[in-house]
Subunit: 401 residues, 2 copies
């Protein structure tokens, strides 16, 4: 009987997978992406009826798009796959540097995930496959044989917003048993992301695990909030039902104003070092703007501030009104206060072709004029996750030392 | 300057979203799925170049597939969308009962996610969109305004398997501050799933939050392991690199043999009730088989056993060999031992058209012949998640009382 049921299982699976057209666990055994020993990569996609199959991803040279009055924007490049036997299309890259890359197929104009790759990231509401070219850079994004921290999704109440919200919290390996107190890095996502973004696309847990295990970073708690105050949480984890993430992003003081609820919750729930020297705040894009505003409006709270491709000085009404308009006012004098109070690290990082380059340059010039010290990192490329992972890895090694 | 940068953001976003063809946050404002007040649903998909667009999902009557020598299998049904203006295809369902349904589009034979729906589930390595028809049934799968438990991804070491592995753990609201000890439900997934399956497709956290808040279930810890002993964890969260989840599922005694490491870790890490009355084990499909074997081979360990569409008496060599062959032997006498030792609930549930129906019927007949008491639930439909959510909700109300 055992054999029969197992065969039934196999038959059921085969039918299920056949119905799903292509699949990881059965059906056609296509290898995609295939990473060759020389770090070239072959993409394959079976689509006998397709007229055109393309791949788009951050491993291709970006295409530049000119928008009148606004300037030049970089977008992921595209390449054509060539059709071969059996309706299997192929594209082979050149030699790629070690990195975590993402991609999607475009089949006759439609974005399609690679059915042969289970590795998926979500960013700005889009799904993308990803792959890793091993080596010095991307090894830091891999799960290695080191002690792993725990990642929790936790609910907190915000009095300011009048609702429960969800955050992701990384506690370093050993937290549960050490009895020690830990410093906290508040790590904020960009517009369109949510409390999952730094974990999924940012590989924050892997980066922290590896840095801590090698002694390059101090063991720390990392708190990843949801920066869209209209929402409680990531899609599917919210009481709002099947909302679409339209109008996400908060540039209306509400995120900044509610941040005291976040700090208070974290200091009560976790064994934290509850003073300035035990707190860092950093964020990418919108989250860089949030970090900028919060560090200026919460004096003597953070000893380390990281602005990653930061969207600075942005105001938008999300329909809630500005619940703390003073938070976006008198920022120049608050900068003076910040540096007068003393801060161990003010960190600005941006890609050389980022569309936010100029506004970050203005901030640097302002700091230079006043003689306020900061650390600056400029990297190739634009407003992309590749850079934000690099900035996190660099920033995390510089704090709580 | 503020306004300019915000507009730059908007321009960047517009370009990014345009490149992604269709999108949630920009581009064409297509509503899909649109759930009408009468609980009919309209699906929409923009594909001007497509020849045929279909939708497949569990809200359609299943199609039956005959496999010679094996019998009839049920697969999700399919329906054709009709092309309208602007290359927007549409399909409208009949009135649907309250439920959480999943679906995918099939565009000229290729499985494509709905770009207008951020709600995604992964099952057996396939991605599917989902939607909820509100009402008595599906309200239990929603995030409600009740206290929420914490869900953690935690790493444990298995001496038996010689590696670190990842599990998901639900701790009920109040766990962090109550100081109390809690009972533990070990909840196991099916073949092709992983430690994320019960949380994502199974909505376990929402089901438990809602049952506990309404007093229908006792506050409990829920431990969700990874049943594929070849792997450490879900794709992307493993040290194995970019493995494909081929050959997943463990029917070789290794999962059962390593389960003592799971129990030991959980009892050491969490405030648990460390005795038989404080432990339940349940699983679906392969996980039902695991629950069956583990409850038989760990005497006086579990007081509640749930077999959900269980795959019973399955043996397969995954290449590791049987590390504890005795675990799959003498099961009839171990059944005698289980009921002689005493157990508070032995629970069997299955769909009336499940392909595993007969083997579960054989087990029931065996128990009947010996006069061993058990609770039996039979529901419409086959080997599908809809049933497993129903079984979890029913089972969770019957344990630890």
């Amino acid at each position: 009987m055992r054999k029969t049921i197992l065969t039934l299982f196999a038959a059921f699976s085969a039918v299920a997978f056949c119905m799903a057209q292509q699949s990881l666990s059965g059906g056609s055994q296509i290898m995609s992406p295939e990473i060759h020993p020389d770090n070239t990569v072959t993409f394959r996609f079976q689509a006998p009826k397709a007229i055109r199959v393309q791949v788009t991803g951050d491993f291709l040279p970006p295409s530049k798009i000119e928008i009148p009055n606004y300037g030049t924007f970089e977008m992921p490049g595209m390449a054509d796959l060539q059709e071969g036997a059996g309706g299997i299309w192929e594209f082979k890259t050149g030699v790629l540097e070690s990195e975590l890359y993402n991609y999607s197929f475009i089949v006759d104009g439609l974005s399609v995930k690679d059915p042969n790759n289970a590795y998926i990231q979500r960013d700005i509401s889009n799904l993308m496959n990803y792959f890793i070219i091993p080596g010095e850079r991307a090894d830091n994004y891999q799960v290695k044989d080191v002690p792993h921290g725990t990642v929790s999704r936790v609910w907190y109440h915000s009095d300011v917003l009048g609702k429960d919200r969800r955050m992701a919290v990384y506690t370093p390996a050993g937290y549960e048993t050490s009895g020690k107190k830990y410093p906290v890095l508040y790590l904020l996502h960009g517009m369109g992301g949510d409390e999952e973004a730094w974990l999924c696309t940012g590989r924050a847990a892997q980066i922290l695990d590896n840095l801590i295990a090698s002694g390059k970073a101090t063991p720390m708690i990392v708190v990843m909030t949801n920066g869209n105050t209209l929402h409680q949480s990531a899609p599917g984890e919210s009481g709002e039902g099947m909302y679409k993430p339209y109008n996400c992003g908060s540039f209306d003081t509400s995120f900044e104003a509610h941040f005291k609820d976040v700090i208070s919750f974290v200091d009560n729930r976790y064994r934290t070092i509850r003073k300035q020297s035990g707190r860092a705040i950093a964020g990418l894009s919108m989250g860089g703007g949030h970090s900028y505003n919060i560090s200026l409006n919460y004096p003597k709270t953070f000893d380390y501030v990281g602005l990653f491709s930061a969207g600075l000085n942005i105001v938008r009404d999300n329909g809630m009104g500005q619940i703390a308009p003073e938070m976006y006012e008198n920022l120049d004098s608050k900068i003076d206060r910040l540096f007068k109070n003393g801060i161990s690290l003010y960190y600005i990082a941006i890609g050389e072709s980022d569309f936010l380059y100029d506004s970050n340059k203005e901030l640097r010039e302002k700091l230079d004029a006043k003689g306020y010290p900061y650390t600056y990192l400029e990297t190739p490329g634009g407003h992309i996750w590749r850079n934000w992972r690099i900035y996190l890895e660099d920033f995390a090694q510089r704090i709580f030392k």
